[in-house]
């Protein structure tokens, strides 16, 4: 029995290391200027997918990511950890997409895959922190959703049982397949790379990467089909062009400002007993404390 799991993942700029060139003049993100990493919660999602793959006979895990050519890195990274393969959705038509245009493109790609039993993705990506794409994809596909998953507890009789971690509590919910699940960072961390799989898949490439590498290995890829990462452009998915990219994005960036805070005139002190005692006396006297 086949059981197809798709993990939606995103290669994100590492927002912990933002430089001055991070934004382009049109207000969109200049991804080329930043180190690119695997979105952390998507790794939590991958782990949940791989656990199911280990439990369910015939289950497969494939990554779907939308991004530039180099986003294939996170597909390889997933394969090193146990995924079977992946799909890169790439092309300039997708540029400038907000969450809604992104979810439309992803939903079109998923429809193209035939029967999908389960979609798992991270709750949110660290570059936008919106948490919108998962639910928006679910709505476009007509799938129910379970958000903020911490653990998949059970999968049987076409029903999935999930523990959710909410801001102020915990829920255990059960729903039918197909289903879309978003996973929290409180879920278990992703397993590390597997040495054998890393050896096996290190030459896995997309057609674009293959072209860049030259033709020397063409035969090799024919005899090792698992090294071919699927790459889809706009022509490979059934779509209506107006819902993609900038035209498919209802939100527009009007303005971008750097954040500047008004500096105060501060009183500088050392940690000496006298200064700290004076400070505490002052705070008590003006009723700030006590």
């Amino acid at each position: 029995m086949s059981f197809k799991i798709i993990v939606l993942a995103k290669q994100v700029p590492d927002t912990r290391n933002v430089g001055k060139d991070a934004m382009k003049a049109d207000g969109t993100v200049n991804r080329a200027a930043l180190p690119a990493i695997y979105n952390p919660e998507d790794l939590n999602a991958l782990e949940q997918a791989l656990r199911l793959k280990n439990k369910i006979e015939g289950a497969t895990v494939h990554i779907l990511t939308m991004g530039p050519a180099r986003a294939a890195e996170i597909i390889r990274e997933s394969m090193y950890r146990g995924a079977d393969g992946g799909y890169l959705l790439s092309g300039r038509e997708f540029a400038g997409s907000d969450t809604l245009a992104t979810s439309y493109a992803l939903a079109c790609a998923i429809r193209k895959m035939g029967k999908v039993d389960l979609i798992i993705c991270g709750r949110q990506a660290i570059d936008g922190d919106t948490a919108q794409v998962g639910p928006q994809v679910a709505e476009k596909l007509g799938f129910p959703q379970i958000t903020y998953a911490e653990e998949i507890l059970d999968l049987s009789n076409s029903k999935i049982t999930v523990k959710r971690r909410l801001e102020r509590g915990v829920e255990i919910v059960r729903g039918p397949l197909p289903m879309l699940i978003t996973v929290n960072s409180s879920a278990p961390e992703c397993r590390p790379r597997h040495a054998k799989l890393t050896m096996k898949y290190k030459r896995a490439v997309t057609p674009t990467e293959k072209q860049e590498a030259g033709n020397d290995y063409t035969d090799y890829f024919d005899t090792h089909p698992y090294l071919n990462i699927t790459e889809w452009g706009v022509g490979d998915i059934d779509h209506e062009i107006q819902w993609l990219g900038l035209s498919g994005s209802p939100t527009k960036v009007k303005q971008i400002e750097n954040v500047v805070f008004t500096a105060k005139e501060s009183k500088r002190m050392t940690a000496s007993d006298v200064e700290i005692e004076d400070l505490m006396k002052e705070l008590i006297a003006n009723h700030t404390i006590g």
Binding site: L100, E139, I276, I289
Partner: protein, 339 residues
């Protein structure tokens, strides 16, 4: 038609603060846009909701009362909003950036093809010029939010799609009663008309909701720690000082990520926004995303090894030193002088 809708979060029959804050904001936007403020309560046993929200100036309260609508599940609430919005055509729809709002908002926006901006820190009304199309839009909702780890603030607009949707975190907007005696209209919805039986596919088997034991947002004094505190062990010093002063302990995102403090203590753009009388920042360097969540504190004391830490710029008092040294002294001299 063309009014402002606020989705109400309800737990145990009580409307959440985040919703009351949005009603307060919604009321002032409605005045500016010369339209009505409408609220939507979806759940079970909603008799008491009107009395809670009308004082905030709600002109119309829509009630979708059905046993199956509580606890919240995604599809039925989505259908209700989608179908009601198709009839009512609101120009703006607001909801809390909460576990529920962030599950529901994207689904509704996806169904209606309306733009949604998450975690806004400010909402304003203004014009927008689309230079390429040569069009000027009046009275759009400016959805202002930090992006990129708080390093920039973006103003987002939805020129062509309605409703203009936004979520806002709890504590970001102020809550203020407009008129304690005001009573608006109540509109009871026929739930079956909006929600199909087939929407009830996800069942909640178990549910444990905790009333947050912490009250960081309401605490007049906050002792907050960052990555510079160094360890969960050192965080105990913050708890001691907090206990002495009658304060609550907060933390920066870096300290929470490092496991020094619980997630619910996080202060900043992705945590709680606070405005205490006194904010004592210990070992916090002052990343923008943290400062944005505490800059309106009446008084700020920054304790840091690094005399050049960015947080020092917005602090009233800057103590350069180790927290292991400074905090015990603060405790000692508070006790000595407070009697």
């Amino acid at each position: 038609m063309n009014n402002i809708f606020v989705y109400l979060e309800i737990e145990d029959g009580i409307v959440g603060d985040v919703s009351l804050e949005l009603l307060t904001k919604g009321r002032s936007l409605a005045k500016q846009l010369n339209c009505k403020l409408e609220a939507l309560a979806v759940g079970f046993k909603l008799e008491g909701i009107g009395a809670q929200v009308f004082p905030y100036g709600v002109d119309v309260l829509h009630l979708a009362d059905d046993k199956r609508l509580f606890p919240y599940t995604s599809l039925p609430h989505t259908s209700l909003l989608v179908n009601l919005f198709k009839e009512e055509k609101p120009q703006i729809a607001l909801m809390g950036a909460t576990s529920i709002g962030r599950d529901l908002g994207p689904r509704v926006s996806s169904a209606l093809f309306s733009g949604l901006t998450a975690d806004c820190t400010s909402l304003e009304v203004g014009t927008y010029e689309d230079k390429k199309a040569g069009k000027v839009y009046e009275n759009l909702l400016y959805q202002i939010r930090p992006a990129f780890g708080g390093n920039i603030v973006a103003t987002i607009v939805n020129p062509d799609c309605r409703p203009q949707m936004a979520t806002v975190r709890e504590g970001v907007m102020k809550k203020e009663i407009k008129d304690a005696k005001f009573i608006g209209k109540t509109n009871k919805l026929d739930v079956a008309k909006y929600v199909a039986d087939t929407d009830f596919v996800v069942e909640v088997i178990e549910r444990h909701m905790e009333k947050s034991k912490l009250n960081i947002k309401g605490s007049p004094i906050i002792v907050s720690g960052g990555y510079g505190v160094g360890s969960a062990e050192n965080f105990k010093l913050l708890h001691e000082l907090a206990a002495t002063l009658g304060a609550e302990v907060g933390a920066s995102r870096a300290a929470v990520d490092a496991g020094f403090a619980e997630h619910e203590r996080q202060i900043g753009q992705t945590g709680t926004t606070v405005r205490p009388k006194l904010y004592i920042a210990c070992g916090i360097s002052g990343q923008i995303q943290h400062i944005a969540g505490m800059q309106e504190s009446a008084m700020i004391i920054a304790i840091n090894n690094d005399p050049k830490a960015p947080i020092n710029q917005i602090a009233d008092y800057v103590i350069t030193g180790n927290i292991e040294e400074v905090l015990p002294k603060m405790i000692k001299y508070y006790k000595k002088n407070s009697k």
